[in-house]
């Protein structure tokens, strides 16, 4: 069973990377751009047939390793 995990900076946390990407896109002429936030993406595959159980496992992986809970939020989606 495959899941996508997206990890983004919490709202109040400085995102220097997103800021630079945003200005560069603007400079490249993308006037309609409103905002960019950058984060991490993981594609995680587990040997587990029960979706609920799998999700619990992945949540655990996030909290234990993949995500820095102090500055990041995350979202798990089945794919």
């Amino acid at each position: 069973m495959k899941f996508s995990v997206t990890v983004t900076l919490k709202k109040d946390v400085l995102d220097p990377q997103g800021k630079v990407v945003q200005t560069t896109l603007k400079n490249l002429g993308f006037a309609e751009l409103r905002s960019v936030r950058q984060g991490k993406f993981f594609e995680v595959e587990v040997d587990e047939l029960d979706q609920r159980k799998a999700e619990i496992k992945i949540k655990e992986m996030c909290e234990k390793l993949l995500v820095n809970l102090i500055i990041e939020d995350y979202k798990i989606v089945k794919i």
Partner: protein
């Protein structure tokens, strides 16, 4: 909002302190004012528990241009060159978020140095972790090291020296101290004292966000089970913006536009504006609507207390706004006039045209609380360890065990993550007693080193205090530099605890004595209290950062043996003091007894003679003897170039363990070419310096008469394996 007792307590203010606030204001504060008082009166900003002791430190000398009290200390190295340096702690943030905590620690100390007009030329750090087997240690070490590197590498300032130590006492409270060293022209140094009224107060750098609100108060409180909740106050660093800020500030500093300048460090906009006004005996009015904000709907309270990084406050000469603005535009940084100086001697804060807060500057600065806290003298143990009663261990096995231990293993794993070479003036990188940085375009250089000895300070704070100054002094001497001045970072537990306060007072007494005797003044520093968890305080851990001068840099002197067949001599007397030694701790788990004595007279004499020998080019390599004693120092000298030694047993009847592992102070090992030996001995004798010929260098084997014989390749391997499993 009504100010309740709960709110007062949450701001870390005591009842008496609150009463004083009411007295100064002649009314109740509002929440904004309360926040500002709490930020300025906490331990971190006010030095309320340490002030009375810090005053005793020697801070003067003909080499000193600026002692403590400014953003950093300044010393004179001749030819209109000045060195500006300081060390600072970022312990609590680094424990919560190691990468960002360490990174912003580096960023903060760099701003202290370039705000005075210096181009930073070197970074150092002192990092202390808990036991290597403690579950948190590995990730903390990883995070801290990559955070230090991440910031320094990106901004392009070499990280050249430091220390990495492990001890259970830091299990729940690591130490991350960062030191920055910069170079400026002596006649182009910038200070934070405001001058003149109706001058523009300018905000430059990054925008203000909600990060780190109350960071300074966090650094002034102990951790407890709830510290997890305090997490969102961690700041995030942006070394890229700091690089722009550095270049922009240095560009603006080329002419006479700046009256005064101050970085926004702990307590951000609050402490920077108050400090500038206080030093100049002026008032300052800020229009907070103008503060560049990163987030919507930020309140005056949040703006004044935010610890967003990479920001500065500048007071400009009349008519210089446009010129200055152009420079900050070029570097894509915010530049906003947010206020003016006046002669009200008040901090006045306006928001949407309304006065939201008004506080006498004096109440925030000079009149901040000062405590002469109770302290008790350390009871010293008289316990002597009887070596004969210890379980027997072969010298060779003890040596192997120590040089493969976490504290004595080669630190390449750490230092290879730091760019040590950028700027192309690093003549000696990490790995020796001190790093050497050439002054750009000149043939002189400075040497820098940081040192601490928490075990010594714990068991006998006065000796410990003396010892770290002396060890730091020795490390500079060992690379041929004349020690000039130090900065110090005083990491201690809870100052409200009388034992901790005693450790503090007595360590400082030791530091004072050594600095005075060695004419090695303190020009800057930082105090970090409340290191500990749930009433368990860390060992007292003052850290000394020293700077020395090499007038004419030729080949830098390293501690690695250079040739086969050289003579090896020890300068300084070996008594065999084992209590508090690395040997007893690592091999026998004994942490009893008092540390070795410091004889400052010998210390000074030995150091000065060694420095003379080095300057006369009579020495091929030099190393001070510190933790681990003679045998460990010798092995470190062997490992570098894989050159072995043949060492005699001592002539007298001293016990071998005591002789080789004793940690008597004031000693150096020198490698001397046969043809220089006579000259060297003559100089040592004419200076009444005790020395011993102990053997010579040889190929292939590290050897002590009948006791130890290890191949140098093997020795190298043993010393280099610990971090591989990390």
């Amino acid at each position: 909002m009504k100010i309740t007792n709960k709110i007062i307590e949450n701001h870390g203010l005591k009842k008496d302190e609150y009463k004083n606030i009411q007295k100064f204001l002649k009314r109740d504060p509002n929440i904004l004012e309360l926040g500002i008082f709490s930020a300025m009166w906490n331990e971190h900003c006010s030095y309320k528990s340490s002030k009375v002791h810090l005053k005793k430190l020697p801070t003067k000398g003909k080499q000193v241009i600026q002692g403590p009290g400014e953003n950093a200390g300044v010393i004179d190295i001749g030819d209109n060159d000045a060195i500006i340096f300081k060390i600072e702690s970022h312990n609590h943030p680094s424990f919560i978020e190691p990468y960002q905590g360490a990174a912003t620690g580096v960023g903060g100390i760099l701003r202290d140095v370039f705000t005075m007009g210096a181009r930073p030329i070197a970074l150092l750090n002192s990092i202390h972790f808990g036991s290597p087997t403690h579950p948190k240690t590995k990730s903390l070490l990883n995070g801290v090291v990559s955070g230090i590197g991440g910031y320094g590498n990106c901004i392009g300032i070499p990280t050249v020296a430091g220390e990495t130590k492990f001890n259970e006492t830091y299990n729940e409270n690591i130490l991350v101290n960062a030191m920055a060293v910069g170079h400026a022209k002596k006649d182009k140094i910038f200070y934070s004292k405001a001058k003149g009224i109706n001058k523009s107060v300018v905000y430059v750098g990054s925008k203000t966000g909600r990060d780190g609100i109350h960071g300074a108060s966090m650094a002034s409180a102990e951790f407890d089970e709830n510290s997890e909740e305090k997490k969102p106050t961690v700041q995030v660093g942006d070394p890229f913006t700091e690089k722009l800020l550095l270049e922009a500030c240095l560009e603006l500093m080329k002419d006479n536009s700046i009256i005064s300048i101050q970085d926004m460090g702990a307590a951000g906009l609050t402490s920077s504006s108050v400090e500038m006004a206080s030093k100049g005996s002026l008032g300052i009015e800020l229009e907070l609507d103008k503060v560049p904000c990163r987030e919507e709907n930020m309140t005056p309270y949040e703006m004044m207390l935010s610890e967003s990084q990479e920001r500065m406050l500048i007071i400009l000469e009349d008519g210089k706004e446009n010129h200055a603005r152009k420079i900050f535009d070029k570097w894509d940084l915010d530049f906003v006039v947010i206020g003016r100086t006046n002669n009200s001697k008040n901090l006045t804060l306006k928001f949407n045209g309304k006065v939201e807060g008004e506080i006498p500057i004096e109440a925030l600065a000079e009149k901040a609380p000062v405590y002469n806290r109770k302290w008790i003298k350390k009871k010293l143990t008289k316990n002597k360890v009887n070596v004969k009663s210890l379980k027997k261990i072969k010298l060779e096995n003890a040596l192997i065990k120590i040089i493969s231990s976490p504290n004595h293993s080669n630190k390449n794993w750490v230092t290879e993550q730091f760019d040590q070479m950028v700027m192309c003036d690093t003549a000696q990188r990490s790995g020796s007693d001190a790093a050497i940085i050439r002054i750009h375009n000149k043939d002189k250089a400075i040497a820098v080193s940081v040192d601490s000895s928490a075990n010594y300070c714990k068991s006998h704070p006065i000796s410990g205090g003396k010892q770290i100054v002396a060890e730091n002094w020795r490390n500079l001497i060992s690379v041929g530099a004349k020690p000039l001045a130090i900065t110090n970072c005083l990491n201690f537990g809870n100052p409200e605890n009388e034992i901790v306060m005693g450790e503090f007072a007595e360590c400082l007494e030791g530091i004072r004595e050594a600095c005075e005797y060695l004419e090695y003044p303190v020009v800057s520093g930082n105090v970090s209290f409340y290191n500990g968890t749930n009433k368990k305080n860390i060992y007292p851990t003052p850290v000394i950062g020293g700077v020395g001068l090499i007038k004419k840099l030729t080949e830098p002197l390293t501690h690695c043996f250079k040739n086969f067949g050289s003579k090896i001599i020890i300068v300084g007397k070996t008594f065999g003091h084992l209590e508090q030694s690395c040997f007893l701790k690592e091999i026998h788990s004994i942490i009893d007894g008092k540390p070795p004595d410091i004889n400052l007279l010998n210390e000074k004499n030995n150091g000065e003679v060694v420095l003379k020998l080095i300057n006369d080019k009579l020495v091929s390599s030099a190393h001070d003897i510190s933790s681990g004693g003679l045998i460990i120092a010798l092995s470190e000298m062997s490992i570098g170039n894989k050159i072995g030694v043949k060492i005699n047993k001592p002539h007298n009847l001293m016990n071998l363990t005591e002789y080789f592992f004793g940690e008597d102070q004031g000693r150096y090992i020198l490698e001397i070419n046969e043809e220089n030996l006579k000259k060297v001995e003559k100089i040592l004798k004419s200076n009444n310096t005790y020395y011993e010929n102990i053997g010579y260098t040889q190929e292939n084997f590290f050897e002590i008469d009948g006791e130890v014989k290890i191949n140098t390749n093997e020795l190298f391997k043993i010393n280099n394996q610990w971090y591989n499993n990390f």
